[in-house]
Symmetry: C2
Subunit: 149 residues, 2 copies
C-alpha cells in the first residue's frame, strides 16, 4: 500500500526523515525557550552575536535562516528593549555592526542552558563515531544541494 511504483516512498526517503528530525528539534527548542519568552529565531540571533560580535543584519539573517527584512524587524525590537546595540551611523558602507549588551548576554545565558539540554538529549544514545558520521554526512548533503543548484 505504501509503494505503488509512482511517487516517493516517504517512509524510505532520507529527505523526509531529515525534515522530521529538523521539525522535532525545532519543537523541542520552542518548548524549552517558551518559558523564557524567546523564539528560536530570537535565540539564534543572540547566539550568533555572542560568537561573532559585530555581525550585520544581513549576516544574522543568513545565519538564522530568515530574510534580512525579518531579521531587521527583530533587531529593531531587540535594540529598543536593550538587548543589542547598533551604531547610529555605519562605520563603513551601509553595514551596521551589531553587538550584545550586558543585558543581552544575561538573557542568552539562560537560553543557552536550555538549548544545550535539548542538544544533549538529541545526542543521547549516539556514539562518538555516530556523531562524527552524522556531521560528515550532513555536510555532504548540504554541499551536494548547494553545488548542484
Amino acid at each position: 500500500m505504501s509503494q505503488n511504483g509512482v511517487g516517493i516512498d516517504l517512509d524510505k526517503s532520507l529527505g523526509y526523515l531529515l525534515k522530521r528530525a529538523s521539525s522535532a528539534l525545532r519543537a523541542a527548542m520552542e518548548e524549552v525557550l517558551r518559558p523564557l519568552g524567546m523564539s528560536v529565531t530570537h535565540y539564534s540571533c543572540l547566539e550568533l552575536l555572542a560568537q561573532r560580535p559585530g555581525l550585520s543584519n544581513s549576516e544574522l539573517a543568513r545565519g538564522a535562516f530568515v530574510t534580512r527584512q525579518t531579521m531587521n524587524v527583530l533587531l529593531q525590537a531587540l535594540e529598543r528593549d536593550g538587548y543589542v546595540t547598533r551604531p547610529a551611523e555605519a562605520p563603513v558602507g551601509k553595514v551596521l555592526p551589531t553587538r550584545l549588551t550586558p543585558r543581552g548576554r544575561r538573557s542568552l545565558e539562560k537560553a543557552t542552558v536550555a538549548v544545550r539540554s535539548v542538544e544533549v538529549r538529541m545526542l543521547a544514545g549516539m556514539t562518538e563515531t555516530e556523531q562524527s558520521d552524522a556531521f560528515r554526512i550532513l555536510q555532504s548533503m548540504i554541499r551536494s544541494l548547494r553545488d548542484g543548484g
Copy 2:
C-alpha cells in the same frame, strides 16, 4: 573567536547543521516546485495522499508538519480546484477521508519527478553505507527528542 567558553559553538553543533541541511533541502525543493506553481506543503499533501489514500485532514497536517488549521485551508483550495475530493458527510465520526482525483494525480506526477531529482542530487556522493547510516542516525535523533520530551 568562535568559542569563548560560553554559549554553543554553532560550527560544531549537530543541531545547527541539521537545520542547515533541512533549510538547504527545502530551498532546493521550493526552487523546482515553483515553476509548477506548487509549494512544499502543497506537494507534501498530494504525495501523502498518493501513498495513503483516505488520510484525514489532521493526519495530513501531522504528515506535512503544519497545524490542522493550515492543512484545512489548503485542502479547501485543493478541493475547490478539483485536485482532491472529500465526502460531504463523515462516514464515521467527524473524520473526512480525502482522496486524489485524476487531476490531482496528474499534477503530482510532474512534482514527484522534480522532487526526486532533488533527492537524487542530495544523495550524490554518498555511499550505500552512508545512506543507511544517515537513516539510522536520524531516526535515533528523532526518538531521543520525542521520548525525552
